[in-house]
Each structure stands twice: as structure tokens, then as C-alpha cells.
Symmetry: C2
Subunit: 351 residues, 2 copies
């Protein structure tokens, strides 16, 4: 566990507790007492110390405190593409929840989503100052390939690691079933599915649930379409679908598509528009995530709402429980409910 040769000379730091003590004419310990609010200090003395602090612009040295306490009041969070809707919203929620508990959040991004990439991030993180670790959407990481620092509380969200660590996840199954059943209830013979990449756990669960729901309803299961979460991929698949819709035999024409996220639905719908197909009159489309822009797409997108704030705060709560009660939570799984938001991109099929 050798770290890179870091030859750093000491940098200038601000005034220390003893500078304040000297100026106030008290001992360092008394300054510490004022600073932490522990122990008895005469009012007059306290005022003098506070004045000295203000005069010197003193603020306590975090590193020294952390060294003393063995805690940093900081969580690490490993993300892959943090500008992507799901991740940035989860992170935002985590930051907020952590703040409430007096913690801040250190971000580490992963260059490649492979195990080695996450491991490399992990090494950097251990060299950082964190009390707990949050891993979100580590899609391609296999549990065994991940070497985590011992004794570091970990929680994961939406990843393959969920079976090895306490986890928080959206209720993929219910959400997917709601969407598919909604489309069937509108009268569609069957529902096509544009899935996320196979490396993603949520993508696979959604695809499996889509299939199971169709089978349970006694419907034909069309060939699975696969994308990579991007609008670009949705666009490409949309073009193929449009061709199939306008040229194939009437029987095989898709009339409803459920996409595994909203971004792909955006691309898909654009492709359909370009081919002169109307949504929802010619094809119904439903997504997953309910990103803020989903309501302002044309037509407004029917989609499965994910409660990202709930995910974020659940992640933080699981970490705190491990930290405070030293609980072992390996098997804990928090499931965050979903809700189908019906807008205007889905309608009964035109006969």
C-alpha cells in the first residue's frame, strides 16, 4: 500500500490555539475549552479568548481535530458519471442529508466503470479523509474484485454490490410492473422494451420484470431492444422501430414502448417524430426516472417516478447507523417506492 512519492514541504497554516492563548494570556487548554464549549470558563476569560480568536482570525485546525478524534465528519461518494440525472440528484440528496447530520461529502469520480477503475478510486479515497463510503451505480463492478479498506462502513445504491453491502435501491419491480401494466390496460396488445446496458443491475431487473409482467398477462414478448442509457441510443433504436412500424406487417407493429430511462425515451421519441409517427397516437412511450424535463418534453412523458431524495437520505442513514451503533448491516436493504406518473405520451392504440 505504497502511496506515490509525495514530497511536500509544509505549507503555511493559520494561527494556532497557542497563538490565541498567548494573546489572551491564558493556557492553550482554556482556549480549547472555549473553542469546543466543554468545561467551565469564567465569563470574562471567555470574552478575552473570543476577542483574541477574532483578532487573529483563528479557526481550529481540522486535521489536528480529526487526528485527535479519529473521525473526519466526512463521507466519500464514488460516482461514475455524476452529471447524469440519477447520479447528480442522488448526490444532491446525499449532500443535504449528510449536512443535516453534520457531515460533508467528498466526491470521487471513477475514470472507467470497471473494477480496476473503482479500485483505483478506492485507493485515492483511503488516502482521503472519510468515515464512510457511498457507492452509487457501480454497474460493472463485481463484488469480489473490489478491495475495500477494512472497517470502513459502506453503503451502495443500484449496483451489483448490493448483495455484499447494505444497500438502498428503488423498487424496480413495482415501478416496471406499473408502467407495463398501464400500457396493457390502455389496450395495447403487447409492450416493447428498450433496456439499459446488461452490465447494469437495475437495467436487468427492469427487463426481467417487463418480461415477467407480459408473460403473466399472457402476452407475446417482443425481442428485447438494448441501449446504453443515452438519448443517442434511444434515437438509434427509435429509427429502427419507426421503420418496423411503417413497413412491417400490421400484426407485428409496435404500438407501445417502455424505455428503461427517460433520456432514451427522449431520443426514441425524436426518432419517431422524424419518421412522421405521432406519440401517443401511433406509438405510446413510457420512461423511467421522471427527470425534471420529462414533464416538458412534447408530448409530456409518462414515466416511473424515482424518489432520489429518499434514496440519498436512506444512504446517509444507513451509514450513520453503522457508525454510531457499530451495527453490522450486511443484509439490510432499503427499498424506496416508485410511482407511475401518467402524462400524455401514452394513450390507447389507434385501431
Amino acid at each position: 500500500m505504497t502511496s506515490p512519492a509525495v514530497t511536500r514541504s509544509r505549507q503555511a497554516t493559520g494561527p494556532s490555539i497557542s497563538d490565541v492563548a498567548r494573546l489572551a494570556g491564558v493556557s492553550a487548554q482554556t482556549v480549547s475549552r472555549v473553542s469546543t464549549g466543554t468545561g467551565p470558563v469564567r465569563h470574562e476569560t471567555k470574552e478575552r479568548v473570543l476577542a483574541a480568536m477574532a483578532a487573529l482570525g483563528y479557526s481550529p485546525n481540522t486535521a489536528a481535530r480529526a487526528l485527535k478524534y479519529g473521525s473526519y465528519r466526512t463521507f466519500g461518494i464514488v460516482a461514475h458519471q455524476l452529471a447524469r440525472t440519477g447520479e447528480s440528484r442522488t448526490i444532491e440528496a446525499v449532500v443535504e442529508a449528510a449536512r443535516g447530520a453534520g457531515y460533508t461529502v467528498t466526491l470521487v469520480d471513477v475514470e472507467s466503470p470497471s473494477s480496476s477503475g473503482v479500485n483505483e478510486a478506492m485507493v485515492r479515497l483511503t488516502q482521503q479523509a472519510i468515515d464512510g463510503l457511498i457507492i452509487i451505480r457501480a454497474e460493472t463492478v463485481t463484488p469480489t474484485a473490489l478491495t475495500l479498506p477494512p472497517n470502513l462502513p459502506v453503503v451502495v445504491s443500484d449496483s451489483r454490490l448490493a448483495s455484499h453491502h447494505p444497500a438502498v435501491g428503488t423498487d424496480q419491480v413495482t415501478g416496471t410492473r406499473q408502467a407495463v401494466e398501464h400500457l396493457l390496460a390502455l389496450g395495447h396488445r403487447t409492450v416493447h422494451h428498450l433496456a439499459g446496458p446488461d452490465s447494469s443491475d437495475p437495467a436487468r431487473i427492469r427487463a426481467a420484470t417487463w418480461r415477467a409482467t407480459l408473460l403473466a398477462a399472457g402476452r407475446e414478448v417482443p425481442a428485447l431492444l438494448t441501449g446504453d442509457w443515452t438519448s443517442e441510443a434511444g434515437y438509434r433504436v427509435g429509427q429502427e422501430l419507426a421503420v418496423a412500424t411503417t413497413s412491417g406487417p400490421t400484426e407485428a407493429r409496435p404500438t407501445a414502448v417502455f424505455t428503461s430511462n427517460d433520456e432514451m425515451a427522449f431520443g426514441l421519441i425524436r426518432a419517431l417524430h422524424e419518421h412522421g409517427l405521432r406519440v401517443p397516437q401511433d406509438i405510446s412511450v413510457a420512461g423511467f426516472d421522471d427527470i425534471p424535463l420529462a414533464a416538458y418534453l412534447w408530448p409530456p412523458l409518462t414515466t416511473v417516478h424515482q424518489d432520489f431524495p429518499a434514496i440519498g437520505s436512506a444512504l446517509v442513514e444507513l451509514l450513520l447507523r453503522q457508525l454510531n451503533q457499530r451495527e453490522v448491516l450486511t443484509d439490510t436493504r432499503v427499498v424506496v417506492p416508485t410511482r407511475l406518473v401518467v402524462r400524455e405520451s401514452t394513450a390507447p392504440p389507434q385501431v
Copy 2:
């Protein structure tokens, strides 16, 4: 500068350098030499130390190192709504650039965007361990109301603080002019503008440039429309605009709108669609930001592309320059160029 009464007992920490030393049968200093790669160590000794490290699962204590070096290899970043496109993409770029320089990034969000909110965040941050501070989109903060820790390098982006700190910003003026001139060149008599909130510097600059560009071209300047960056606001304004377009005198009918960001364009276009107006045939719309989904809106959105990665790396670079060369950069301003991306939401007016 009293911190809240933090009565924390010491938490268990991992094995220390002396545990490793004992196991390897060497002095602590030798372990340190192996760990940092400094100083000469016999090959055999080094192997023994590495083996001991591995056996104990040792990793160096960050707090102790930070205390020794007076540096944390960490930047703080203050954001307001980090799930918003511009912010999350800037943050992503900052994290990446910081990683390249061997730094990690600690996120602090601001409850309210007011000065007191940012100040409160500041207090929390000083109690964190950071070597430099990045403030993005602190729209409503006035420079004088902000009390920053002394000697802390700071850079800002897109905020009112730009005049008081080294700053990085998009070339608002050129970007806006490109968009407005593009619409005029298509043959539109004039261009309406849906601005961001007046509290935002970029919003005001874009609005002023829109006005100046119209005046320079000798065109009439329509009444300014104001939103708050959200699609919701764009939708509301779009409804009013749609009414004006379908009912007002032909002379006064808007034929082109430039919105100060893409989200508002989304909302605006949805409202126009709902009123049966076609984009771009009846009204052209251009946005600002070039969010990833802009290309997949229907119609694909003409918009001003912002180079967020460039902003992020410029922010980090300015911080590093202050840290390394102890430069005083107060007046430094990095301007990141923009580029108009013409898609299909703009076209010549139909006569």
C-alpha cells in the same frame, strides 16, 4: 469562532505506522520511508515492511499527514443546486481536473442562495479540511457580505463575486450575440427574450447583450420576459406568448424567442405546442447551455453551447496557481468561448 459543542469520543482507527514497524522489526521511520517512497531502504527491508503493511491492512492516516503537511489535497466547492445541469457538469469537470492534480473535492451545498446561506456554508467549510475554495453560481451573494477565511485561495464562476476574486466565466456576450444575430439573419423582424432571474449575473449580461444586439441592428426591442431558469417558468411564459401570437395584431406577433437557458426553452416549446403553434414554422426558439437533451427535444434545439469541462479545469487551474506560486490573481478573469449550435428549432419566419 466557536464551533458547536462536539463531544466526540475517539473512534477506533486502523493500524498505525508503529504497528507495522513492530511487526516488520524496524523503526517507524523506516516504515514511513517505504510509505512515502522517500529515503533509501534496502530491498529486503522494504519487502518486509510491505508484507507487514499488507498483513495488517495498513493505510496511512490522512489526518496525521495533513497535520504534518499543512495541506489536505482537497478543494471545497460551494454549489447551490447541484442537480441543475450547469452546476453538475461544472462540478463533474472540476472533480476530474482536481483528480488530475492529485486533489479531491468536497461538496458543500447552500441551503438558501443568500449571503447568509453562503456564509453559513463557509463556516462549515472552514471546519472542513480544504486548501482552496470554488464558488459557483452564487447568484444572490454580494461580495461585501461574504466573510471568507483569510489566506484561503478562492475562485468563482458565474457570480457577482467575479469582481472580487479570480474568476472563470463563459463568454456570455459573444454567445448571446451569436444567438440573436442568427435569428435576425434568418429574417426575423426582432427577437423576444426570456431572461433568467435578475439576481443572476449571467442572466443580466445575456439580457443586456440581447438588447444591445437588437439596438445595434436597428430593431425594435420587445418587452423583456423574465423567468427563473426552470422549465415551469418557460411553460408559463410560453402560454402568454402563445396567446399574444394567436390573438394580437400581426405586427406585434413574436416570431422568434431567445431563452436564457435550455430548460426554459423546453417549457416554452411545450406551451407553444399545446397552443397548436409549430416550432420553428410559427415561432423560432433558441436556448443557452446546450444540455445533452437539447439535441433530442422535438424539434432539436438551436442553442449556445457552453464548454463546462473547460470551465471546470480553468477553475482548478486558477486555484493551483494560487496555491503553488502564491500568486495574487485578484484581477484574473478566464473567459471560456461559446459556440452556437444550430439545430431545427430555428428557421426563417413564415410570411
